[in-house]
């Protein structure tokens, strides 16, 4: 590689980092501006001299019952939806990768159509239906749509993974004297686990990020997830949003995402790219 190319790549890499991290740094910086400074106006990237708040905004946000409740809602709803969606998608993806059956194409096409569905066009009828069923403003009322909308991604990702698994190894283990349970447990599960795991992470991201269902299918803190809670968080003066408090809330809501990304970066990239391009 020539030096010119090398310099170009270094600059490019720096630009990528700047692109990704500058807004994150900004929201963190904003969360340390004091609320008085925000009300009076405090332009600039960093908190002004004397306009810093220390950890006060975080203390205020974490003392807010509605916000805490929405964190709990988001964690609970996202985890349950992720678990159920991955279990169902694993069954479907196994069938798609390994079995011959009528309707295989139909499942894959349906998944693709649903992945592209304009979500907002459903909230009207769902709003109506959920109130009839009595699950409006409850956890199941959000878990069900989250499952439906994460299934496509999970099925595509998992079936791409399952297609790569050398299934003959299961028989090989049995020939070597393993019982079928042992063969499944010791050979297939370790091979399939990374794919299942990746699908789970992507599903969790979707559920955590959802906003449309979150605001239209909930009305109280009973089930309202974080994105909806943040958008309704106006503070005492609706004409002057408490920007720094909101920023602190935003940072708190981003921490789980950053932890997951830090731990599982490789798996997420593999999952995002495998399902999409091979399909």
């Amino acid at each position: 590689m020539s030096t010119k190319n090398k310099i170009g790549i270094v600059i490019g890499a720096a630009l990528i980092l700047l692109w990704c991290l500058l807004p994150v740094a900004w929201i963190i910086s904003l969360s340390f501006k004091s609320q008085e400074a925000i009300t009076n106006g405090s332009p600039g990237f960093l908190p002004s001299e004397g306009g810093g708040a220390g950890w006060q905004n975080y203390r205020d946000v974490l003392a807010d019952d509605q916000f805490l409740r929405s964190i709990l809602n988001s964690i609970g709803i996202s985890l349950i939806a992720t678990f159920l969606s991955v279990v169902i998608a694993t069954l479907a993806a196994y069938a798609i990768a390994r079995l011959e059956f009528t309707g295989k194409k139909f499942v894959l096409t349906l998944a693709l159509v649903i992945a592209m569905f304009p979500v907002v066009s459903l909230v009207g009828p769902l709003f109506d239906m959920w109130r009839t069923f009595g699950i409006y403003d409850t956890w199941p009322g959000l878990i069900i749509p989250y499952m439906s909308f994460t299934l496509p991604l999970a099925i595509w990702t998992l079936s791409a993974f399952f297609r790569e698994i050398p299934w003959e190894m299961e028989q090989a283990a049995q020939v070597d004297g393993a019982t079928s349970w042992q063969a499944f447990r010791k050979v297939i599960v370790p091979l399939a686990a990374p794919g299942v795991f990746t699908a789970a992470i992507l599903t969790f991201f979707f559920a955590w990020n959802d906003f449309v269902f979150g605001i239209s299918l909930t009305s109280t803190e009973n089930a309202r997830p974080i994105p909806a809670a943040l958008s309704f968080f106006v503070g005492s003066d609706p004409f002057n949003r408490p920007a720094s408090l909101l920023a602190a809330g935003a940072v708190v809501s981003t921490i789980p995402i950053i932890v997951i990304v830090l731990l599982f970066q490789r798996k997420i990239v593999a999952g995002l790219t495998s399902g999409a391009v091979k399909g």
Partner: protein
Amino acid sequence: MTHTTVAPDDKRDVRRADKAAASDRSKAENRLGMRLVAPAIFLMLLVTAFPMLRAIYLSVFNYSLTAPDDREFVGLSNYLTALTDSLFWETTLNTVFIMVVTVAIELVIGFAFAMVMHRVIFARGVIRTSILIPYGIITVVSGFAWQFAFSNNNGFVNAWLPFVEDNFNWFGEYGSAMAAIMVSEIWKTTPFMSLLLLAGLAQVSEDMLEAAKVDGATWWQRLWKVILPNMRSAIMVAVLFRALDAYRIFDNIFVMTAGAQGTESISFLTYRQVIEQFQLGIGSALSVLLFLSVLLIAFLIVKIFRVDLAAARQEG
């Protein structure tokens, strides 16, 4: 199927047994396969097909949740109202505008990012980790971050940009408000685009690039004649997914402008009719129109890319 050859009795029996076993087996496999996908199909249809049918049904009524007993059949007049209302066309135009601009910019920047990530030999983990942060971050948070960044009270953009006055109100007029919304959208989704394109880049054979280089192709020629044609399918997948996703834009507009200054999108308009004004009749009509327009866009993109594919093949 019938056998025309005459075989000894025992052989024929064996063969028949084989066939029966095989078809039993494949029948069982068929049954198992259908059983395994059934829950997924049920769930996907429960939340999409069923409500969509319900939307089609409701769309022919004048039906408001504030007066549910006054529901009356009005035929297609809800569609007529929507299609003759300038607001519908303005929001659709806005949405298409946002879709075209953001996807075009994301494609260019995303491709540049993918090229860098493909070639970079140091700090790979750090770069991939950081690129996943915008992807994973909540859209609402991205909307807030950029809204405050563009704010003339507490933001930094005015101070950093040359030729922009410090007290310029980005959300005070249509053009600049749209720009702010698109910046948030582009920031959040370019990483996704670049990862899809990165996977496409990895499929371009290095040998071919090397051969082109030996034959004296410039960097620009290699890009247009070797790299891009070889990652057509990756680009198509990325554009299709992102375009349909951009067409659904809602979160950023809700958070950043709430539709002020004429920045409403079609999704936002539909949401407002249904959830804020409880007009299920006209709202359902809008839902159906939104769904149809997504189908149309998907169809157009697939068509356009097919044409491109054919043209590219003739060239090469």
